[in-house]
Symmetry: C2
Subunit: 205 residues, 2 copies
Amino acid sequence: MRDKRNDSSTEEKILIAARLVFIEKGLAGARMQDIADRAEINKAMLHYYFKNKEMLFEVIFREMAGKLFPHFERLMDSDLNFFDKIRSIVSSYIEVIMQNPYIPLFVMNEMNKNPEMGIKNFFEAQKPGFVRKLRDSIEESVKEDLIQPINPIHLIMNIFSMCAFPFIAKPMIKLLTGIEDDDFKNMMEQRKILVAEFIINSIRK
Amino acid sequence: MRDKRNDSSTEEKILIAARLVFIEKGLAGARMQDIADRAEINKAMLHYYFKNKEMLFEVIFREMAGKLFPHFERLMDSDLNFFDKIRSIVSSYIEVIMQNPYIPLFVMNEMNKNPEMGIKNFFEAQKPGFVRKLRDSIEESVKEDLIQPINPIHLIMNIFSMCAFPFIAKPMIKLLTGIEDDDFKNMMEQRKILVAEFIINSIRK
DNA sequence: GTCTATATTCAGATAGAC
DNA sequence: GTCTATCTGAATATAGAC
């Protein structure tokens, strides 16, 4: 933050290391020693920059949670037609998750394990923006008889389920199908189009 | 196991308690003291019945993993037509998960966090049975021109994504939609039919 | 089989020199 | 800001009496 050195600051090194360790092990499984080692500093420094483990975790968690829903609000405001908005959401969402494939499981898991984290406020801020707009857009498309009647919540669940779940279930998928990382990546690449068309196919009149 | 008393055996009490604690906290977050308290015994007993925390966890994990895919093999062997098989899988899968809503996240998360657990063998046993049969059934339906061409793996992913993901994302869904547990349950009840029809709608010719 | 008490290890956090 | 050394508490595990 406000440090004097110009080389990759210690705080930054800590954050990079903490990201890795927390994502790999979760809050409960992460070890401060492990974070210190990866940052190539000592434990004392961690507590100098961040009061305690929970504080450090909170920073990382908020950072990750913030990446869960990217620029969707802008997208909803664009003048794309409804179907192209679906295509665009699916495609860019899968793309974003492919960059950080561990985010969905990490966020969902820690939300479950640590329900009393200051996350509610965090998301309630972005909620109206994008979810409501998507909801409205769906309801409008139903009224315009563009798509078949469907509860918007269900449709939204379907969209994000098919995008995010494969990343959460990756180890299981690899086990059951025998595919390797490369093929998995290829499949997700295919899904950018496949999932969108699957959805549109289902709801279009 | 092979104990002499007839009342709810100590081992059983341990397993019940361990289930609760491991599911709530995960392997890393669970405390043996916590399990002992809930089982209303002392810590020493835990180590008498199970060598260590990992052993106890392994028992619970395998138990949970075993519940992930229920009687699907039988279902695939039935003489239902393809669409009714889809309906049946979706409906009974959601029903099963509703009984134990925490299972998908628990299993997926621990598979990620502890990749080197003896789970591979476990699932490789059931894999051929049900996944392959579903795959074959999809390929056959494509050949028969009953459904539109689709990579079976993608379709299978879609099915299980839409069934399981809402349970994994429940805290997030509650946050974004403002719904409560009762409504959530109702929605999942609706999804038994909705998801199946959503899928069939998309793939049928 | 069950308990109390204790050993042991580990991890988070702090004190204090530089 | 950075380090070494240390404290403290927690958590797993064991010893041994009953």
